[in-house]
């Protein structure tokens, strides 16, 4: 079936299998492989994207459900090359919150979403907000550090 989706600001069309997930369409039809597939059950958050501004797991949304809607992915957060990283991405690098990196795009999206809604989250609020994003490498401590760093900069008006 034919779908038309606004992906990162641009309307695009794809011919998808009716059973295909938005994650599959993003990765295989729209060529955006920043959203990762680690469980396909909405448990790991590696495929976190915004659908009409709402944080969702792209694996739990049918591609057809995104028809005539707006999807924003991790690729929308930064410019090309090494310049123009999103402050959350910058904080992840500085704090050492990246190891294998597979969970990172989903976490970056989830943290950006959290800080957009709450620029001063308590530790408990951060943990609850990110409890749907699994990371197997870091033990989450440096992810907590990255969130603190990004939040601090946001409050300081750095972004």
């Amino acid at each position: 079936m034919l779908i038309r989706v606004n992906v990162n600001g641009e309307w695009q069309e794809a011919d998808v299998w009716p059973g295909a997930s938005l994650l599959f369409a993003l990765r295989e039809d729209f060529g955006l492989r920043g959203s990762k597939n680690a469980c396909e059950q909405g448990e790991c958050g590696s495929c976190s994207v915004w659908l009409d501004g709402e944080l969702v797991c792209a694996c739990l949304v049918l591609a057809s459900q995104a028809h005539e809607r707006e999807v924003r992915t991790v690729e929308s957060l930064s410019g090309p090359g090494e310049e123009g990283l999103h402050p959350v991405q910058e904080a992840f690098l500085e704090a050492g919150a990246v190891q294998c990196g597979f969970c990172t795009p989903g976490l970056v999206v989830a943290v950006a979403d959290l800080l957009d809604h709450d620029p001063s989250p308590s530790e408990a609020a951060v943990r609850e907000a990110l409890s749907g994003n699994l990371c197997r490498c870091t033990g989450y401590q440096k992810i907590m550090d990255a969130v603190s760093l990004a939040a601090e900069r946001k409050r300081g008006g750095d972004w």
Binding site: Q99, C135, R136, I143
Partner: protein
């Protein structure tokens, strides 16, 4: 909160420099195996056995072959070369042809236009199985009545270590029986790769793995190709933790690509991943620990059995490790340590972070706590009293030659400030045990504190020829001198790439260091396993970079510059004075390729004696837990972690290993177990197999003890595994302290904590099997050549 920031973009050894692969990773541009794409590529899918043991009567492919978009369907008879492979012994069929040995064993592979078409075609293959009696219990496997899974029986290896006088009397004895469950590595990145047929009849494979060259060594014979026609390049690895040591889709994708003449990608999903890689060995451990009245260890007797599952994988090395470490990092004058790895029809087990050490650490540390209780002494004091150190003699007779800051690790972990107790009136409900479920307000909380000490070898043991080759190329870049580091060493996320670049910067004095994609164009780097790659990779880069620098200096000398030469800020200096820019001497690039080997070790003799391991990394942790005694729910409040990396090449990276390793150990302590019933995995998903979330993880406070290892580059040991090894033992120790229960099986479940389920019991250890010595059984039967053919029915070689 103290945050160690990776502030510098450049930087050498000893600095918390930023990851060299960090920017593409945060942007989502880093290409993992499943992200690979090629025009015209097909998608592969695998048919797997539903039975733990069955004979294949026939396979009907007629319905599947004619399906839409199906380009190939291959069976065992289509394997072009040898039909079996394996990491140490080639006992695993590429595709089953006679008997299937475990649930999930590959039987057929299909390539089709889309993943869905491939999956559907696989669903139309009809296999007629004659179901056979499986062996699904490790002790049953040792019974004389059990079906024999190999011609010689079910023992894969039995190790017996006799140290001092194993009959030595002690003033007090404590006894224990322990069981550990099957843990999954649960790397987030799934098994995936892309095979592209080449014009020369060979194949180029891009794959997520831990060791490119050992993959090729297994793949090429099965494809019937010489090694040089099987070229491997590394695809991004989304975590490994041991699960990418054994082959997964490599041979299948290559077969399909060579058969169809088109690129073929295979990507597993999470459920298939659980079936397709090896897991941490479940174990049963019987232990008697004897001490004098003043608390000194006198005698340790241990019996360890691990379930290797259907194929050998690396079980022979895992049981070697588990047995040699079974007495703990202590001065033990007398010991009898016996370990057995068995074949069963359970899922194959092999490498996972810790590699046999976490299982025995859980047991020997529980024994130390029991002994402290029996003697009414402080458990930390008891450990300090018995701690091994440099010069100590291990049960194998090996003397610890290198750094062994065991007492300091204990003291540093002990002295980390305890977490403050939380005031109920301001406490967020999410911080109570089971908090996200909103199940209590802490009505019956008990706090407990536990401690554990552990150790493990760094790099490969028992005489293995362990090396890493690196090539350093110095050339004139547009903005000054640049260096390229080329190695087949695999970055799994732990930071090897950054470590190698740091080493090159340090040796060469130039900032612009780039990394070549890891591939088989250079010689082997060995596996990214056994906490070895920081040592081996930095060692190889150091040698190659120094050779390149020496060549540069000889060019400078040839141009008439004498004295003591050095490189600084892009200039070559003679006795401190600049004599020219580095690029002036780089009209031709300098290329240097060097191999680093660690010192040699020896095999164990018939009494388990030998200089078995290269070096040891130790660790100590203190865990603080809260248990809800009504609900059996746990919250780990804090872990205090003392790490022994030798020397930190990248301190932020060492902390990352401490924190991440602790998370994995916490998982084994209270959450993670692959549930296997009659050989069938019952929880092959992230809905049912739970790994720690950010809500489950406490703050981990890390102290790094810098005690450089003598006679190795930079004094480096390794940091990859030790936090995992001790975290499980420390957390369960804290749970025992909180509840007063025995808790002799991990993972500890709510029912164990509230007493609904009694401790696991035993009728005693199985008698030692009647085997000739410590060699793996395949070796004893003359099949000791690596990649020897020992297929189950003995007809593997085509």
């Amino acid at each position: 909160m103290s945050v160690r920031l990776g502030e510098r973009l450049g930087g050498g050894v000893g600095e918390s420099v930023r990851r060299v692969d960090g920017i593409p990773k945060v942007k989502g541009e880093f290409a993992y195996g499943g992200d690979l794409w090629h025009d015209d590529m097909l998608f592969g899918h695998t048919l797997r056995s539903p039975h733990p043991r069955a004979r294949i009567r026939s396979i009907d492919v007629s319905e599947a072959l004619g399906g839409p978009g199906v380009h190939a369907l291959l069976l065992a008879e289509d394997v072009p070369g040898r039909r079996t492979y394996g990491l140490e012994f080639a006992d695993q069929p590429v595709l089953a042809w006679d008997e299937v040995q475990y649930v999930g064993q590959p039987v057929a592979v299909v390539a089709a236009e889309t993943p869905e078409l491939a999956r559907r075609a696989v669903g139309r293959i009809a296999v007629d199985y004659e179901v056979l009696q499986p062996v699904t219990d490790m002790e049953e496997a040792l019974s004389p009545d059990a079906p024999k899974l190999r011609e010689w029986g079910n023992v894969l290896r039995h190790v017996r270590i006799v140290h001092g006088d194993p009959d030595a009397e002690a003033d007090v004895w404590v006894e224990g029986y322990y069981e550990t469950g099957m843990q999954d590595q649960a790397a987030l990145g799934l098994e995936a790769g892309l095979a592209i047929p080449a014009e020369d009849g060979g194949v180029d494979l891009f794959v997520s793995t831990q060791w490119l060259h050992v993959d090729r060594k297994q793949i090429a014979p099965c494809l019937g190709l010489p090694e040089e026609k099987v070229r491997l390049s590394l695809a991004g690895v989304g975590g490994a933790f041991g699960s990418r040591e054994d082959l997964h889709m490599q041979i299948h994708a290559c077969m399909l690509a060579l058969h169809t003449g088109r690129p073929v990608r295979i990507t597993y999903d999470r459920a298939e991943s659980f079936l397709a890689h090896v897991h941490r060995h479940p174990s049963r451990i019987w232990m008697r620990t004897g001490a004098s009245h003043d608390g000194r260890l006198v005698n340790v007797r241990a019996r360890v059995v691990v379930d290797g599952g259907a194929f050998a994988s690396s079980s022979t090395a895992v049981i070697g490790n588990a047995t040699t470490f079974a007495a703990g990092p202590y001065e033990v004058p007398n010991a009898l340590l016996e370990g057995t790895a068995v074949y069963t029809n359970n899922p194959p087990c092999g490498a996972m972070r810790g590699f046999g050490a976490p299982q025995v650490c859980f047991a020997y540390e529980a024994q130390m706590d029991k002994l402290a209780k029996t003697l009414s002494v402080d458990p930390i004091e008891l450990r300090l009293l018995n701690a091994a150190g440099t010069g100590s003699v291990l049960p194998t007779g090996q003397v610890i030659r290198g750094s062994a800051p065991v007492r300091e690790l204990i003291e540093r972990a002990r002295d980390i400030p305890m977490p403050e107790s939380e005031r109920a009136e301001i406490r967020d409900p999410v911080t109570y045990p089971g908090g996200a479920g909103n199940v209590s307000r802490g009505e019956s909380l008990k706090r407990g504190v536990g401690f554990a000490l552990g150790y493990k070898n760094v790099a490969y043991s028992e005489g293995f020829d362990d090396f890493h080759e690196a090539r350093v190329t110095l050339s004139a870049g547009a903005e000054g001198p640049m260096a390229e580091v080329h190695s087949a060493g695999v970055e799994c996320g732990q930071g090897l790439s950054t470590v190698m670049v740091q080493a090159a910067r340090t040796e060469l004095g130039i900032d612009d260091v780039r990394l070549h994609l890891a591939d088989t164009e250079v010689d082997s780097a060995g596996s990214t396993s056994a906490s070895r790659q920081t040592l081996m990779g930095s060692g190889a880069v150091q040698l190659a970079a120094r050779a390149a620098r020496d060549e540069l200096f000889s060019r400078a000398r040839a141009a008439g510059h004498g004295g003591e030469l050095s490189i600084e800020d892009g200039m070559i200096r003679s006795d401190g004075a600049a004599v020219g820019e580095v690029i002036d001497f780089l009209r031709e690039p300098v290329v240097a390729t060097r191999v680093f080997r660690h010192r040699t070790t020896t095999a164990m003799d018939h009494r388990g004696q030998g200089d078995v391991h290269v070096m040891f990394a130790f660790s100590a942790q203190r865990a603080v837990v809260e248990v809800d005694e009504d609900l059996g729910l746990v919250r780990v409040v804090q872990v205090a972690s003392a790490m022994d990396p030798g020397r930190s090449i990248n301190p932020q990276g060492v902390e990352g290993q401490s924190e991440g390793g602790t998370a994995m150990g916490l998982g084994l302590a209270v959450m993670e177990e692959i549930q296997v019933t009659d050989g069938i995995i019952g929880n092959a998903s992230f809905t049912d197999y739970l790994i720690p979330t950010i809500l489950d993880m406490p703050p981990v406070v890390t102290e790094i003890v810098e005690a450089p290892e003598p006679d190795v580059p930079y004094g480096v040991k390794g940091a990859g595994e030790n936090a995992t090894i001790v975290a499980t033992a420390a957390i369960v120790s804290a749970l025992r302290h909180a509840t007063g229960r025995e808790l002799n099986r991990i993972p500890v479940r709510p029912d164990d904590l509230v007493g609904l389920v009694p401790p696991v019991t035993t009728s005693g250890p199985p008698p030692p099997p009647d085997v000739p010595g410590p060699e793996p059984m395949p070796t004893f039967f003359g099949q000791d050549e690596v990649q020897a053919d020992i297929s189950p029915s003995g007809e593997g070689r085509k």
